[in-house]
Amino acid sequence: MNHVVCIAYVPDTETKIKIGSDGKSIDEADVKWIVSPYDEFALEEAIKAKEAKGGTVTVVTYGPARADVGLRECLARGADEAIRIASEGIADVDSLGVAQMLAGAIKTLKYDVVWLGNKGVGTDAQVMVPMVAEFLDLPHVNLVTKIEWKAGAVTAWREIEGAKEVVECPLPAVIGAQKGLNEPRYASLKGIMAAKKKQIAVKKPAEVGVDAAAMSGDKSPVRWTKLELPPARQAVKLVPADDPAKAAEELLRLLRDEAKVL
């Protein structure tokens, strides 16, 4: 079984985001970049399947050269090949555009399963899984927390409100990984040394059949017009607990009348 895993290289979830001078982009100066945690679940599951059943794992991303560091990390964990569709010189592209880029690259490969995180922790749009599936004309299962392989098919467990849904899906298919699917491994030093010898294939959008000019900048259907930070957190209010009964009463009052959460 051959796997393709789509990787987003995103700001570390703990990075303090600053807004750029244009008011509609992130100031990237002090940002630490990481492989999106949901993509790590996807990659781990693909590597586990490869270890159990053979095949290959290819990682694909759309992004600038810094994303190569993320791809190398995936290679160090056990991916076999990496492709980066280069975003250099291309104006902003929305999720639909990125999905087309990824699908374009995936179409050049032989695969049984396409993996994505169910969301990126960057913009949290949560639309990539169905979009990529649509462009590949494949079935998809999203928010998957457990997988079992069968001949030519997969059984997937999904978290739904108050229950678990078990679905069977023919392969090839697109699978969206949810937290809980697995515990991603660390890379190893041996993996890092082995990754050094692997090449990252850098391709222009045109090489994967995508006309970037037609979907970027002003042509992008969805554009960022403004970014705002959430209001600064208010100081903590301490309720003195000398008299527990009174304290509980005061706490209730605050939650109801001031915070208005009850």
Partner: protein
């Protein structure tokens, strides 16, 4: 928030992509696996043995060896591993130093094929733990005076004597023991003694106030019989143990940078948020700034020193006195930084809610072991004057 590193001069550019990848991997590991438990471990005086398989899975043991399925890293990458581990805790770094530089290195370098085949894979996978016995109760800075002897008797060596202050001693499956062959005037040889051998015991040193998350023990040999094949065939004389120490000390010079990074980073953060006098952060006071300026300057110099050492080591041009300079300087830097950080933290500088006091106590061991600060001073003195002021052992 994950540790952002300390890099005032932009030295990151001087590392290769894979060196940075190695560092970042160990950095993440320390943040996720070591820091959440280490303060309790140190307080309880417990070595977190549960981390051994995890460290092995990362290939942290014997990482410069390129055979036996080990990664074959260069010396700069090895140094960065030591730096990051000691940013977590000097005890964890000591464990890896001993396993890699003091146990796997001599077996790999001086061992027979059988010894290597038996021990290197198991040590690399963390299935076996090793220790290195050189110091004795009466011989620390002057190991050449050691009294432990190994005498041939039929098809065995018979070991008698005692080693002290041995890292990992009580938990080791195999001890690399340095003893005099034949009698007190014989050459120093290395012997492999396995746990469970009759006549071998390893009582732990009690009441340690430093390196509390690391095991330190005595090794006692009373007519301890080991097979003749358990001697390391490739080396004779003090050169054996001293060459191992050069490896380990090189790593310690990097480790000390990690310790200093941890205390500096903590002190800087604290100074910016702690307010005293007119609601101003203590970082605004000149005396506090002087300390922070000292720390960052010394850390940066230490980084440059170790990096140069690593590149020289990879080029095969490193001399033992270069390592003495870096061990002496960088551990001193870490010790000064720990104290200054501890001062900046005020009362919080003495509690385990911050890493500073633990690092401050730990670095006292590092200051003494692997050649004390003063002994390295004498090594340097001899290197520049050509005059030995003491009777130094020769590598």
């Amino acid at each position: 928030m994950g540790f952002p590193g300390v890099d005032f001069l932009g030295l990151d550019d001087m590392f290769s992509d894979d060196e940075r990848a190695v560092r970042d991997l160990v950095r993440d590991f320390v943040d996720a696996e070591i820091l959440p438990i280490i303060e309790d471990c140190a307080y309880e005086g417990r070595f977190p043995r549960e981390l051994v398989p995890k460290m092995a899975a990362l290939n942290l043991f014997g990482s410069t060896i390129a055979e036996y399925g080990l990664p074959g890293l260069n010396n700069v990458a090895y140094g960065l591993i030591m730096q990051e581990l000691e940013r977590g805790d000097s005890g964890l770094r000591s464990f890896v130093s001993v396993q890699s530089s003091l146990v796997m290195y001599p077996i790999y370098t001086y061992g027979s094929k059988e010894q290597k085949d038996t021990f290197i894979p198991a040590l690399g996978k963390g299935e076996k733990i090793g220790c290195f016995g050189l110091t004795e109760p009466d011989f620390g800075s002057n190991p050449g005076g050691m009294r432990t002897v190994a005498k041939k008797d039929g098809d065995s060596w018979v070991l008698n004597g005692a080693k002290s202050w041995i890292t990992n001693g009580s938990i080791a499956d195999v001890a690399v023991v340095w003893a005099k062959e034949g009698g007190p005037d014989g050459p120093v040889r290395g012997f492999l003694v396995e746990r469970g051998t009759p006549g071998f015991s390893s009582p732990e040193h009690r009441m340690k106030m430093s390196l509390r998350a690391s095991v330190t023990s005595q090794l006692v040999f009373e007519d301890c019989r080991i097979p003749l094949s358990n001697v390391l065939p490739g080396v004779s004389g003090l050169k054996g143990p001293l060459s191992c120490l050069t490896q380990a000390r090189y790593g310690i010079s990097w480790g000390a940078i990690g310790s200093a990074m941890a205390t500096y980073h903590c002190a800087l953060d604290y100074a910016k948020s702690r307010k005293q006098f007119r609601d101003r952060p203590i970082a605004s006071h000149q005396l506090v700034q002087e300390k922070l300026a000292f720390m960052i300057t010394e850390i940066t110099k230490a980084q440059l020193l170790s990096l140069r050492l690593g590149r020289q080591k990879d080029a095969g041009k490193l001399l033992p006195e270069h390592v003495s300079m870096a061990k002496r300087n960088n551990v001193w830097v870490a010790r000064e930084c720990a104290r200054m950080a501890r001062e900046i933290l005020g009362a919080n500088g003495i509690v385990g809610e911050y890493p500073v006091f633990r690092h401050m106590a730990n670095i006292e061991s590092v200051f003494t072991y692997e050649g004390t600060h003063d002994i390295h001073t004498l090594v340097l003195g001899q290197a520049v004057t050509g005059i030995p002021s003491y009777n130094p052992p020769q590598e």
